[in-house]
């Protein structure tokens, strides 16, 4: 199990580095997919199976749209990939910096090394994420309504920002 946790964590960092080195847009979208998948793995290994399922379905659903959009918008015949030397150096540099920080600052037993959510809560008999979910519909009802309002607001914001179809400045990228 510990090897899986390390696999997920390393994959998370590598996926994020792919996004950060500024390759062609759809490689960045692909890197985000890797990050999302590996992040769900990390959450599972920390004891949050339902949370990771929700994250996987919702986030990857959104990422699919982003991937399709960026692939359609920036369909280059010769995409910039790791073939360019600068990208490779940048990638190695980023991963190296993260690795150095990990070796320097994360010692065994500091709490940052890894533990499951059930261990955090001690001798809890119920799984904490279901507990938290019921809390969300009970005492956290106000915040749930607030989140729904934010989603509605986001809809209006997006519609306002993109109105004007071909005359709107956000669509000026051809």
């Amino acid at each position: 199990m510990a090897y899986f946790v390390y696999l997920f964590m390393v994959g998370l960092v590598l996926g994020m580095a792919v996004v950060a080195v500024n390759l062609s847009p759809y490689f960045a979208a692909f890197g985000l997919v890797v990050v999302a998948g590996m992040g769900c793995g990390v959450i599972i290994s920390f004891g949050g199976s339902f949370l990771s399922l929700v994250l996987f379905l919702i986030y990857l659903g959104g990422m699919l749209v982003v991937f399709a959009y960026s692939a359609a918008l920036a369909a280059e015949p010769f995409p910039e990939s790791f073939g360019t030397t600068g990208a490779v150096l940048y990638f190695m540099g980023l991963v190296g910096v993260v690795g150095v920080f990990a070796i320097l600052y994360i010692e065994e037993g500091s709490g940052l090394g890894g533990c499951s959510s059930d261990e955090v809560m001690g001798m809890s008999s119920c799984v904490t994420e279901y507990d938290g979910m019921s809390q969300m519909y009970g005492p956290g009802g106000f915040l749930l309504v607030l989140c729904a309002w934010v989603l509605l607001l986001t809809l209006f914001v997006v519609l306002e920002m993109t109105r004007g179809s071909s005359r709107g400045p956000l669509r000026s990228v051809k």
């Binding site: 709490g111 915040l143 607030l146 309002w149 607001l153 986001t154 914001v157 306002e160 109105r163 400045p169």
Partner: protein
Amino acid sequence: MSPYILAILLFSLGLGTTITFSSTHWLLAWVGLEINTLAMLPLMAQNHHPRAVEAATKYFLIQASGAAVLLFAGVINAWLTGQWDIHQAAHPLPIAIITLALSLKLGLAPLHSWLPEVFQGLNLTTNLILATWQKLAPLALMLQIQPPHSSLLIFLGLMSTLGGGWGGLNQTQLRKILAYSSTAQLGWMILVVQFSPSLTTLAILVYVVTTSATFLTLKLNKATNINMLAISWAKAPALMALTPLVLLSLAGLPPMTGFMPKWLILQELSKQGLPATATITALTALLSLYYYLRLTYAMTLTMFPNNITSTPPWRLPSAQLTLPLAILALAAISLLPLTPAAMALVAL
């Protein structure tokens, strides 16, 4: 923009700041800041010309990264200390990250260079909201955290008064000058926030009044650069006699309201045993004074050689609402005698 959409956006703008004000939990404070940013974006891009959309995009990127860093620091804080309470955040690492994230959101030097660019792309009314209402929520969070070391906040404060003064020196665009002025004024607030939060509250209140009066004056004259300001005296001669006083109040000269926070902040810094910091801050205020004086000079103290037909516009009544400007300009000029009452109002 449809009035219904406008109502929803303005309501959410108020809601975001209110949520951040009333929250004791980092997650809710972050939610409030995000609502604020989201609701502001369509207001910024409502004219749909490329400069406004560019400014909105820059604003979105900066505010989103600031909010993400704030959330990251809140999570680190919860991980290290086991609670999410804003008042009890005591670990130095999250506190330092939160301070930098809020500085980015507020536009404090050295994280201020987005502010003039965003201001320059927007109209004066949106700038007014950006310079006053949008500063309140991050500043309310800044008031509540307790940094373990004073050096970071003093560094940010000194850099802001210096950078805000220095950046505005060579500008001819009024909106950029007012953006640098905003950075410089926020520097004063941040400098004193750990010694006397009530003085920071007083400073933001006075800044809101004086900068609103300035923005409304420029809006009345439809002036966005110094040349337009120089020929705008003919539109409202009485206002032109008052505006230098408003600008010098923003600069912090003695008989005006703007002197009140600067006076008390310098006094507080001296009381805390920081005479060198107080001296440097007072000297950097001279840099800001230079560009306020230049605006005053171009607007009132010289008469530009225009032909006689440009003078009649003052006979035409303006369609703009002038009552808020009248009240704010009077408050910006003449509230210094109310210093004891203002201190009692903001006493924490």
